[in-house]
């Protein structure tokens, strides 16, 4: 059986009339940690959203396979039930639905099994404790009144509870202090069991120091200009992206 988890082939996608992704391909195997970097506006978040089937983007070419199945035409909920998770850069607030109830409903949806309240709560609290998140947040409305850092933790909490096969983290480390980055990194590490994979979209080195990526991809202008190992992160940190664009143009 193939160990390829996600296979994105020559994806072109646009928002309205504007083409953002101009032929992106990427293969993620089971157990791998991938990093997607690139300047602002390069299309990184669009790429994440396209994998997750955001209805605001139109895929005009290419295909997406997950565990050998063509999911190109599947909706977001179908993809989530296959085991894909995306941590949002801007988590939405939903007054009226508690964090606990939302995660419980989500867990029931992805597993296809009802989640007994007490058993689920015990498990949820253990994840919250590990993320240094106050248990009282479980009873609060989803992300309402949460600080920026708490929202990021809420995303990682959801990831922990849903145990996806592939987690896409869209700038989950942005706006977090050093301690919070460490806690979030530990949360992601716990997911990695050799079978599950992570795609990290980031601008920062800190989270990568903790998670040791296998591959780094650089997206510029809607195209992946370079695939490399973890050493590329340091070069980007010291020299930015300009050299890469120039090199690609030569």
């Amino acid at each position: 059986m193939s160990d390829i988890l996600l296979e994105v082939s020559d994806i072109r996608a646009s928002a309205g009339d504007k083409e953002i992704l101009k032929g992106v391909s990427l293969i993620i195997k089971k157990g791998e940690v991938h990093v997607l970097m690139g300047p602002n506006g390069a299309g990184k978040s669009t790429f994440a959203n396209v994998i997750m089937a955001h209805p605001g983007y139109t895929v005009t070419k290419g295909s997406i396979f997950f565990e050998g199945a063509d999911i190109s035409r599947e909706s977001a909920d179908q993809r989530a039930r296959r085991g894909i998770f995306m941590s949002f850069q801007q988590a939405v607030e939903i007054p009226g639905i508690t964090l606990e109830n939302f995660i419980r409903s989500s867990k029931a949806a992805v597993t296809g099994q009802n989640q007994p309240i007490l058993k689920f709560r015990k498990q949820l609290y253990s994840y919250m404790d590990a993320l240094d998140m106050k248990r009282a947040y479980a009873g609060r409305y989803l992300n309402v009144g949460f600080s920026g850092g708490e929202k990021k933790k809420s995303e990682i909490l959801q990831m922990s509870a849903l145990e996806p096969k592939l987690a896409i983290l869209d700038e989950t480390d942005s706006g977090l202090d050093v301690d919070a980055v460490k806690i979030v990194s530990e949360g992601v590490k716990r997911l990695l069991d050799g079978e599950r994979s992570v795609l990290i979209i980031t601008h920062h080195q800190r989270i990568l120091q903790a998670l040791a990526p296998d591959f780094v991809h650089v997206l510029v202008g809607g195209r992946i200009l370079m695939d490399s190992g973890a050493s590329l992160v340091e070069k980007i940190a010291s020299e930015g992206y300009k050299w890469l664009s120039e090199e690609a143009l030569v």
Binding site: P55, D77, A80, M86, F88, V92, S105, S106
Partner: protein, 332 residues
């Protein structure tokens, strides 16, 4: 005979159709089985002759003195085919803190409910009203309240449909530092018509009020919300706010909002906000990205609109009843 009700305190252009609503005034009640049930034996039913003496036209009712209550009070009015007209008088005695839950349900042609509230000095009263008729042609619910010095009145209201339902709450903040908070949610579907009128008159100094109304409309339902904060002469230092938020589930619905702030006093603060719109695509995507199917996501969003009100209902069976109503609401 048709009579005008929910009349706007400051009329606007007639063509907008919000200046008033009309209801049918009954000459005589249709007979049927009326059930009025109260959880607290200390609460006395209002004698028919007492009702006859009052201005109210009613066929059941209770007189409630919060000093005599032993816990959260629950009163259920139910009709099995007859017209239901309930009349309740609540006196929140000085220094007491009480909660009362009223439900009205069943199968009625006509419902007319009136709750008269007197909140004495330093009292606090929370009144939860749930209206969920299996069938009703015309349902009118009114509250008339006077709130005394440093007293607080919380009204939590849930309106679950009806062919033509009208809500009319009028609160007089008479005392200094008196407070009134209305938190309501409504769901309408099909061709249901809802006319909601809340009016809070600030008379005492440093009085505080807020009105929050949220809900959802589907099918060809029509809803009019009229929220009035009236800062009268002498209400200096008072503050009031009103917010309405409605989710429009279908193109055929009509949501009209008339927030009004009247002011004859300088040193006051009043604010209002209203929004009506379809379900936010980003919220839908967020929910579905967690594996929840689209229809279930829509149900969750509608539930989220009424949940802040439902969560305040202290009885599980009533909360379950609302959830069942919501399931049916989304399936219709």
């Amino acid at each position: 005979m048709q009579v005008k009700t929910n009349v706007l305190p400051a009329p606007t252009w007639r063509y907008i159709g919000v200046n008033y609503d009309t209801i049918e005034q009954l000459e005589k009640f249709r007979q049927g089985n009326i059930m009025a049930k109260c959880s607290d034996p200390a609460v006395k039913a209002i004698a028919p002759e007492k009702i006859a003496e009052s201005d109210a036209s009613a066929n059941c009712g209770y007189m409630i003195d919060t000093a005599e209550l032993s816990g959260t009070l629950r009163i259920e009015y139910f009709s099995d085919g007859g017209d239901l007209a309930d009349y309740s008088i609540i006196t929140a005695r000085e220094g007491t803190d009480a909660m009362a839950v009223f439900t009205c349900g069943g199968d009625v042609h006509f419902h007319n409910g009136l709750t008269r509230i007197i909140a004495e000095k330093n009292s606090r009263l929370t009144l939860i009203k749930i209206h969920g008729f299996a069938r009703s042609e015309q349902a009118v619910d009114s509250i008339l309240a006077n709130v005394g010095e440093n007293a607080e009145l919380n009204i939590i209201s849930l309106e679950l449909g009806g062919a033509h339902s009208l809500t009319n709450y009028q609160i007089e903040l008479d005392g200094e530092a008196s407070r009134a908070f209305i938190d309501s949610a409504c769901l309408a579907k099909g061709r249901e018509v809802m006319d909601i009128s809340y009016r809070i008159n600030h008379r005492g100094k440093n009085s505080v009020s807020s009105i929050t109304c949220s809900g959802a409309l589907k099918g060809q339902a029509r809803k009019t919300f009229k929220g009035t904060l009236d800062f009268r002469k002498g209400s200096s230092g008072s503050k009031g706010s009103e917010i309405e938020n409605v989710t429009l589930l279908d193109r055929g619905v009509v949501s009209r909002s008339v927030p009004i702030i009247l002011c004859t006093e300088d040193d006051v603060e009043g604010s209002h906000a209203a929004s009506a719109g379809r379900i936010d695509e980003d919220v839908l995507f967020y929910i579905t990205s967690r594996g929840i199917p689209m229809e279930e996501a829509r149900r969750l969003i509608v539930f989220s609109k009424i949940a802040p009100v439902v969560d305040k209902i202290p009885f599980e069976d009533l909360r379950d009843g609302v959830n069942i109503y919501l399931e049916n609401y989304m399936c219709d």
